[in-house]
Symmetry: C2
Subunit: 199 residues, 2 copies
């Protein structure tokens, strides 16, 4: 029904997460309506990001050079490392302005069912970073999901035996700010109770 | 917070309709995760669509040559023309398989407030097509909105005086199939009543 170039664009757009056939068609018609300049800016941005962005050689975060901006920043505390699953997880933590250390991006979470073993993640690379004795605390900030928790436990076990001098912490579990107790799920509320703090 | 190429991609993605900052970031990280091949396929599809798709010289629908596939198709009934606002409106009508004529894409709807006058649309081009006497019916399929209805009335007025021999019809207004009377808005229900048909 569409001319081949239009159909091809719709097909490619529909591969994006959360974009179904209808949305892909709407986006394609938008691109057809905009100026060549605007459309080419998007096409070039996609090319550029794939050509210029790689992984930081230290922490495996996204980087436009050998090291990411955080690893290259001397003002960041070299004694703290926050371990996250994906590059996208660095952004929300940075937005809090509560963490001044560096990161280590695992590239996923352990999931034996999906065939993701420790060798598939940057776990040995994390352990290698701990070798020089500069790091004093590892903050495990994997997602509060089954695979994320399993990954945190796996790393915590290793650190406890091999690096008993390094503090290992994880993000607090509890009620999100602004939540309503009435609608909190029992797992979250349970964790909030177990982790209650003195006022 | 992001490396410049990543930020640039997020900015460009956020210009797409219905894509906010968060979604743009999620799409950008998806593009960063996929293979170069997949990402370049999307970038190339955007470029290709802008370079190869233009407007049909007859009906102003999207076309990858001088004429769109519908105008180039001899099996389509040359006596019927369906007038729509945008190229995207052709697709849903084609999907019904109820229309075997050709189209005329106006490129928008009359809207004096937004400065859209008859000269800004392909209205005179429509009248020019009617000159050769081949067209027997014009189906006005503009959107059932204020501007769409105004555009249909504008064209209908002209046709009634200049081409009294050409039938002018418009899409039926009424309840959508599967609708619930209880939740129908009064305008739609009113049109369904006025347009009631004998059984």
């Amino acid at each position: 029904m569409h001319a081949p170039p239009v159909q091809r664009l719709i097909t490619e757009l529909a591969k994006l997460p959360g974009v179904g056939g209808r949305t892909a068609q709407r986006l394609a018609f938008h691109i057809l309506r905009e100026t060549d300049e605007d459309a080419f800016a998007l096409a070039d941005a996609i090319r550029e990001v794939k050509e210029r962005i790689g992984l930081c050689e230290v922490c495996f975060n996204l980087a436009d050079g050998p090291r990411c901006r955080i690893c290259a920043d001397d003002r960041r505390d070299p004694a703290m490392v926050c371990v996250v699953e994906e590059p996208g997880d660095v952004i929300p933590i940075e937005r809090t302005h509560e963490f001044r250390g560096r990161y280590h991006v695992l590239g996923g979470a352990l999931s034996p069912i999906d065939g993701v073993d420790p060798d598939d993640l940057k776990i040995s690379e994390l352990y290698a970073r701990l070798g020089d004795g500069e790091i004093r605390e590892v903050v495990l900030a994997t997602n509060p999901t089954t695979t994320g928790e399993a990954t945190a436990l796996h790393i915590a076990d290793h650190l406890r035996t091999r690096h008993p001098d390094i503090a290992v912490t994880k993000l607090a579990s509890g009620l999100p700010v602004g939540a309503d107790l009435e609608y909190a799920d029992e797992l979250t509320l349970g964790k909030a109770l177990v982790g209650r703090r003195a006022l």
